[in-house]
Amino acid sequence: MQLSNKAWRFKRNIAPYIFIAPFFILFSIFMLYPILFSFRISLTKWDGMGTMQWVGFNNYVKLLSDPIFIQSIKNGIIMFLMYVPIMILLALIFAVILNNPNLLFKKVFRSIIFIPNVTSVVAVALVFSLAFDTKYGFINGILSSIGIKPIAWVGSVFGSRFMISTLVLWRWVGYNMILMLSGLQSISEGLYEAAAIDGAGPIRRFFSITVPLMRPVILFCSILSTLGTFGLFTEPLLLTNGGPFYMTTSTVLYIYNESFVHLRMGYASSIAYVYFILMLIFTLIQFKISSLSEK
């Protein structure tokens, strides 16, 4: 096939764009357009199928003083603190243990810790809600057999948050552990050997070598967990329905209720946009903390 020099050069220059075009076309249709349209919806009052009523930035103003929205942000922060630090620490410890070349049945342990992540969220949530039932769940059964009075899990603020945090930790510690494991591969053995020769015990080695060098992975896990916590949906919906009195309502669950239960699409869209900005801010804060601790 003979091509003139110019034609061939043109084809060569344009080829990369053609290769990435399918992705960008699909992205524009299914992601970019909805994102932009969503902003348009947030400036209106709309039930999803009738006519849109223009209200300008009214929704955003209402949002600032909306007690449920503010509560959902508080819920996200509180639940984050309840389980994320422990989860990341556990994930790191598990990873370090499983990284030991002398450990037998490594793959079995890895699978056991990771399997919760691939179970059906709905099925697990239903089992958890039965187990944590105030009167007839087996958790309270075990507690009462060792002399502790039954705790009202779903009926108390702390209890319901604890339930959800436990479920999420159980589900994601394996995932974070896998991320940590791959991060550990990049730490050279020589560092540990040198520290051991200098007399550092295993715990000292962990906190002085492993943790600092794992900072990028820890940061990554932390950011994912932040987004995950504020975006919790299935667990609060099935376990507590966001209650009691909105104390376990995540922002995403709130958006869902506003849009699909109450048909307030405009308001829900404005929540979604503010949520995006908030997540961005939280992520940047975490980047900052991470780089500060480097010094």
């Binding site: 096939m1 039930d47 999803g48 199928m49 009738g50 809600s129 039965l130 039932d133 105030t134 009167k135 007839y136 009202a152 899990w153 779903v154 009926g155 108390s156 507590t240 329905n241 209650g243 009691p244 009195f245 909105y246 209720n257 699909f260 239960v261 109450h262 048909l263 307030r264």
Partner: protein, 442 residues
Amino acid sequence: MLKKSKRTIALLTTLMITLTGFSGCGSKASTDSSKPSTVGEKPKGKVTVWGWDAIKKSTDANMDAFKKAYPDIQVDFQTVPTSDLYKKLLLGISSGGEGLADVVTLESSHLGQMISTGGLADITDKTKPYIDKIVKSKWGDAQKDGKTYAMPWDIGPVGLYYRRDVFEKAGLPSEPDKVSALLKTWDDYFNTAKIIKDKTGATMMAVSQDKNDGTDYEKLMWQQGQLYFDKNGNPTLDNAESVKTTEFLGKLIKAGYTDNTVDWTQPRYDGYKNGRVATVVGASWYGGFLKSWIAPDTSGKWGVVPLPVWPGSKSVTANSGGSSMAIPSASKNKDAAWAYIEFMLGRVDSQITMYKATDTFPSLIECYSDPYFTEADPYCGGQQSRKVFADLAKQIPDVKYTKNYPQAEEDYMNAFSKYVLKGTSASEALKEANNSVKSKIN
């Protein structure tokens, strides 16, 4: 560069893959094999029906007769859980009818909201002949601005189920007429609860403190002729009856006469199975559930009486639940859709057949003279329980759910939680709830 023949093959493969990718979208476009009928002909074509599993069981009982009457209509019943059905309907309406059914089953509680979206067809003319044949309280939620958008199906007349064996164990009478005299008022009910608790350890009523869905309150309020809104659509969550009813439930809970289980979960069913709970304020369809899958082994141990009355009132029943069928405006085969609805819901024998199959209580008044209603019901120890509900059905107070029901329900549930779990006073919690509803609806 590739040889020419390999290039052609590569190009063709890419083309084929791309085309199959695009054919994945929009595959729902016209799968109707036959055109809808023209005027004068018998309705024909494909009719897609959406309903939850109980609905399928009900309508299946009529399908043989339906196929005989309308051999040219093909019915495709798609089972959709209740919570998903509304989302599917909304999505279908907003996408201009893509993948939307021709007939949708809707619970009365959400009918008002669905009608307000404007996505249901106006069937005023078609339902006109039935206005006087159906229990009056069913039409309120099916209509908007004088037009009718749904055909009523079943109602949920509410009665008081009780366990004969628990009452006997407590030394109380257990025959329905004597029990009814014993539980004449809600005060009598409260006092009887104490006797039952002391003598048998059983609780009087199952009420969830942790995750109450508001239906206990709603049944008691409907009995008093109201729900969440007044005739002008203003929320009334903080009025006297509301506070009184909420506090009555609180009184039962504080005294220890309630079983703290979440509705629709196994612990609640166990309470009914093993006689841990003495009574159920329930609609006739709940009796159907008890009989068929919640506690079938307790057959013969139950009875049912009208509700105890509130001071100064004679009302002995309410409505809980019930459903209707409607046709989305985007449906391409409305004639066949209406033929299906009319056959299922407008004919006395269809309704009786479904009632026998799944205890869906007909709202078609003519049905109540069917001998089935005076048969002895073995589940209720041989009592004519269906007749009890037929009599109650005629007395259901005329109350509407309205299109703002979901918001009011949510705010009430929160108020109840605060009252029961946080110790906020009922009037304060309800006032907050009422303000919340007021600010969100319009």
